[in-house]
């Protein structure tokens, strides 16, 4: 039998973590308990974070927004600050798993799980989000792209947890797009995904571009080359098809049971074409 702890405050959590360093934390358990069942992990104790108020909820901090790690996806979907400031994140969460999993799973769990297919990650990369890491002694922040180092691998020390993410408001982006390609319409693991935040000028020229792809590399892929290639151009199909070629070179997908590397590579590029629709509307 594994002990299950229910700390109600971070201070209580630190005590637990120091008592036994092999204590694993979890929030929704939608990754951790699946891994436990599959025998892939073997912690001596579990600490559930779902009742620690300090790491739950969404806070408006002026220029940025703080999202507590233990905030559920459903909570984020229903949060108007998130949907007005970061529609690309809302769009991603809308197609993440299923309603029940969204009621349980959290953004912190999605980040720390660090799956290349984690659906909140491409938006968080595209939004240049920062992860706040806390321990009893200190709190620090680092870009999500530094925090995640590989599939399932993050920069998290012993007795540290993720407190939440900070996302700077970026009203200058007027095209916010997310698309996930899976093997079915819902409850599908991403085979490839694209999050995009663009600012288009009055005349329809791209002034800023941030794009991030999921499931086409060990971590989310951003490409300076691709983003630069878009600047000053208009969102039309011919141009996007050209840039798609660059995307195919920028990504490094693998074959797995869901799709071949070849398909992921092609689709990663082709997903850009959908932006032409936003171009038309603008």
């Amino acid at each position: 039998m594994t002990q299950v702890l229910l700390p109600r405050a971070l201070d209580e959590l630190w005590d637990f973590l120091e008592e036994d360093p092999n204590t694993a934390v979890y929030s929704g358990g939608t990754d951790l308990l699946v891994n436990l069942r599959g025998g892939r992990i073997n912690p001596s104790r579990l600490a559930c974070l779902e009742r620690i108020e300090e790491i739950r909820g969404v806070r408006d901090a002026g220029a940025a927004v703080f999202i507590g790690a233990a905030t559920t996806h459903t909570h984020l979907l229903e949060n108007s600050l998130v949907s007005s400031e970061f529609p690309v994140l809302t769009k991603a969460i809308r197609v993440l798993a299923s309603p029940a999993i969204r009621n349980m799973g959290t953004i912190g769990g999605n980040i720390v799980n660090a799956s290349p297919a984690g659906d909140t990650l491409p938006p968080l990369y595209a939004l240049d989000a920062e992860v706040e890491i806390v321990s009893r002694k200190e709190a620090k922040r680092m870009p999500v792209s530094d925090f995640i180092v590989g599939p399932g691998r993050v920069r998290l020390g012993a007795n540290e947890i993720v407190k939440g993410v900070w996302i700077r408001k970026a009203p200058e982006f007027n095209v916010r797009h997310f698309e996930k390609v899976g093997l079915r319409k819902s409850q599908a693991c991403a085979v490839a995904s694209l999050a995009a935040a663009l600012s288009l000028s009055e005349g329809g020229k791209i002034e800023r571009a941030r794009l991030a792809w999921g499931s086409v590399g060990p971590t989310v892929v951003r490409s300076a080359e691709v983003e630069e290639a878009l600047l000053g151009r208009e969102l039309e199909i011919q141009m996007l098809a050209e840039v798609a070629r660059l995307v195919e070179r920028a990504v490094s997908p693998i074959d797995d049971v869901r799709a071949s590397a070849q398909y992921r590579r092609i689709v990663a590029g082709r997903l850009l074409l959908r932006l032409a629709e936003s171009g038309c509307k603008n």
């Binding site: 093997l183 079915r184 319409k185 819902s186 049971v257 398909y263 689709v267």
Partner: protein, 775 residues
């Protein structure tokens, strides 16, 4: 255990045929009260589980169980050495060990059985068992398996790796192609399809003090199971009782033994304690049967005006290491290989082949799904070549009553293919298709495709397809039906209540159902082959009529009526129309002797009368059916050019179902079949590499969810079937056959690509689209 199912609510009038009466089982299921096999627990219960070989092919050198035996909480660890019977099971050919003895032949083969106090202990003990397997080269491809020198799955099988082969020639066979103006060829591949019922294989068993073993299992075949269990582990038939509650889905995957024998064996070693076994999803995927994967070579020849002239087909079925129902599945596929068309000349060859892959078995529509996927694409390819409308081509060649199929079976029953096609032809989804297609949005292409279907019901010519219905007026005045055929979710138990209720003029509150139980109900065959309501319903009509006469006679005696002429049954009573006198059924029930208030009737289904020029073996495997349903399907799809994803936007089906006894249940069957067919067409790709399952769970084996499923319209074409109960024909399977070809044809219509391999995943579609662009 084996309780009687009673039904609350719906006290409105008497049941009648043709009404969409809500199902009798729905109330208990929607409140969580219904007890499935999975829901049997008891205090003092033992958990049993299986150690599997986990290698596709190997000689068993040793099975080391000492450590597991010694683990605290372990009650027993059993191997083939603990089995007193034949240690073999199988429906047709008994080639599957209960616990592997000499070899393992696929990754799911059971090698040892563990009994433990709880599930955690069980899992730990299974890990402690060590197997010494000497790996053998495996065989994983049907055509490779037939070559000389291929590794043999069963060294003692006379046919090598051939389980069953068949060759049928009609007319002039191949030479007829010389007289064709157009000849189309295609090579098709269809994958395994996993049943993915929500209730995985599960059961509960206990040995009683008198030695009898009682098994409650999620099964389609309690009577056949009893015989198989008894023989395999060395018990007398009378020492085994199988009880079959409603299953949580079966679709053919529980047509035969899953947990039953293992459970009975465990019950012999648990000191009288009840035993439960419940396969986890991953275990169900590895050890359970699947729809046979096939490779199908087709050649279809026609005259310039579109009249079909010749068909040649070579069909390969991968049955894995065991027959299960492989030979029978292949034979039914063979019978349907040319569809419901007039084709005077044919040469059909088929092989059902042993490999070291997962076990192929029964799956809703039993091989017909695979050949229909091929044949109905051939028809569209031919239509394209002839520049003909695909629906017109089908109408031109559609069989009508009295004509022969290309294997020589005469269609003697109601034959409604033409009517089904005409219903589709007139529907707005077809008549307005050009406008709909033209309205596709950016990066979308739209297409509309059709498929014509036939599906035969029952066991075929040799194996008797019969049912024995028993019905009782209880002393409480209720009508109790002893259901001989399992209700695996398709609603036949409710249909039984509706049939008997309508004859006896009773409402649902008066009906009681005893679900199949080898001690209480009568043998009536399997819940399969679209036969459940057809065969049992016919028997039940007989029994209900007998009971009705007895009730009226008794009432006449008691009411001192000169005859039964003025008497009539009404809900809960008998009424004398002439005098107004009444007598409650409860009173009659008390006054009638048990033998009087119980009636039994037997029905045996008709078989095809044709004298086909085929082997006895093929006849034994079922060739030649008499009762056939027909259908026409239409799929309207939208293809995304960016991702290759195919969305089915609308789906239409017209089905010649004979009479729909309960239109709601009819629709349920059609919807369910279409959805499974769409899964087969678009998503379901059970992946196996070198005998190892690569899609071991529901995260990797993709079945349709609610948003993936289109709105479905299911038109009944009610052509009376003279041999059916109230004119009914079975429709449990037919709908499964339509989606793969209809969607493939729609995809071709949308963007000019044809998929010869299922499922049509976004990846395959996108790559095909790119291939076409570069060509």
């Amino acid at each position: 255990m084996g309780e009687v199912r009673r039904h609350k609510r719906h006290s409105e009038g008497a049941l009648h045929i043709g009404a969409s009466t809500p199902r009798a089982d729905a109330y208990a299921k929607v409140t969580g009260a219904e007890k499935f096999a999975a829901d049997y627990y008891s205090s003092d219960m033992v958990w049993a589980g299986v150690k599997r070989g986990a290698a596709p092919h190997g000689v068993i050198k040793g099975i080391f169980t000492d450590e597991a035996c010694k683990a605290p909480g372990v009650i027993a660890v059993l191997t083939h050495r603990d089995i007193r019977g034949s240690n073999r099971q199988g429906v047709v050919r008994k080639d599957q060990p209960v616990l592997a003895d000499k070899k393992v032949r696929h990754c799911g083969d059971a090698v040892a059985l563990v009994l433990a106090e709880d599930r955690e202990t069980l899992l730990r003990a299974l890990d402690l068992i060590r197997l010494d397997l000497e790996a053998l080269p495996g065989v994983f491809d049907v055509e490779e398996a037939l070559k000389d020198g291929a590794p043999l799955v069963h060294e003692d099988n006379a046919g090598g790796n051939t389980l069953l082969e068949a060759h049928i020639q009609t007319g002039d066979g191949l030479t007829a192609f010389e007289r064709c103006d157009e000849v189309i060829e295609g090579r098709f591949e269809t994958p395994w399809q996993e049943h993915a019922y929500l209730e995985t294989e599960v059961g509960w068993a206990q040995q009683q003090n008198d030695g009898k073993v009682v098994i409650v299992a999620s099964t389609q075949t309690p009577f056949r199971d009893r015989a198989e269990v008894a023989e395999a582990i060395g018990l007398d038939l009378e020492q085994v009782r199988v009880i079959a509650p409603y299953t949580g889905g079966a679709f053919g995957g529980k047509d035969g033994i899953t947990v039953q024998t293992l459970l009975a064996l465990a019950a012999l070693h648990s000191n009288g304690r009840p035993v439960k076994m419940w396969w986890e999803r991953e275990e169900s995927f590895i050890a359970g049967t699947k729809r046979h994967p096939t490779r199908l070579y087709y050649r279809l020849g026609a005259k310039g005006d579109g009249v079909l002239h010749a068909l040649a087909a070579r069909l390969y079925f991968d049955t894995g290491p065991y027959d299960h129902l492989g030979g029978v599945v292949m034979t039914l596929a063979l019978e349907h290989a040319g569809g419901a068309y007039r084709i005077p000349h044919a040469l059909l060859d088929a092989w059902c082949v042993y490999t070291n892959n997962p076990i192929g078995g029964a799956f809703r529509a039993f091989g017909v799904t695979q050949v229909t996927a091929a044949m109905e694409q051939m028809m569209d390819m031919l239509a394209a070549r002839l520049d003909m409308d695909p629906l017109e081509l089908r109408l031109k060649n559609a069989l009508t009553r009295g004509e022969k199929t290309c294997v020589g079976v005469t269609l003697t029953g109601s034959t409604g293919l033409v009517e089904c096609l005409e219903r589709v032809e007139r529907h707005p989804l077809r008549t307005e298709r050009y406008a709909w297609k033209a309205a596709a949005g950016p990066f979308k292409r739209r297409g509309v495709g059709i498929a014509a279907l036939m599906h035969a019901a029952g066991y075929g010519t040799v194996v008797p397809d019969y049912a024995n219905a028993k019905i009782e007026l209880t002393p409480e005045g209720k009508i109790r039906i002893y259901c001989g055929v399992v209700d695996m979710g398709q609603g036949n138990a409710s249909a039984n209540a509706q049939i008997a209720g309508s004859i006896l003029n009773q409402n649902m509150d008066s009906m009681e159902l005893v679900l199949p139980d080898t001690d209480r109900t009568l043998p009536s065959g399997s819940a399969s082959a679209s036969r459940c309501t057809y065969t049992f319903g016919n028997a039940l009509i007989g029994a209900a009529e007998i009971l009705k006469n007895r009730i009226l006679q008794k009432a006449a005696d008691l009411l001192m009526a000169p005859s039964t002429d003025d008497l009539t049954l009404a809900p809960g009573k008998v009424v004398n129309r002439a005098t107004g006198a009444q007598i409650p059924l409860s009173r009659l029930g008390r006054l009638m002797a048990e033998s009087e208030r119980t009636a039994i009737s037997h029905f045996r289904a008709p078989v095809a009368k044709d004298r086909l020029d085929v082997t006895d073996e093929l006849r034994l495997h079922g060739l030649g059916h008499a009762v056939i349903s027909y259908g026409a399907h239409l799929a309207a799809v939208e293809v995304d050019e960016i991702t290759g994803a195919v969305e089915v936007v609308s789906y239409l089906s017209a089905t010649d179902c004979g009479r729909a006894l309960n239109p709601q249940i009819y629709e349920q069957q059609i919807h369910g079949g279409i959805c499974q067919g769409l899964g087969f067409a678009l998503f379901e790709d059970f992946r196996v590499e070198q005998g190892t399952v690569k899609s071991p769970d529901l995260a990797t084996y993709i079945i349709p969810t609610a948003p993936d499923t289109p709105n479905m319209e299911s038109l009944p074409v009610e052509l009376h079937e003279p041999t059916g109960p109230f004119g009914l024909k079975g429709v449990g399977e037919i709908a499964t056959n339509g989606p793969a070809p209809a969607v493939a044809n729609a995809l071709a219509d949308a963007c000019g690509i044809r998929m010869f391999r299922l499922p049509m995943t976004p990846e395959r579609v996108l790559l095909a689209l790119r291939g076409r662009e570069t060509r």
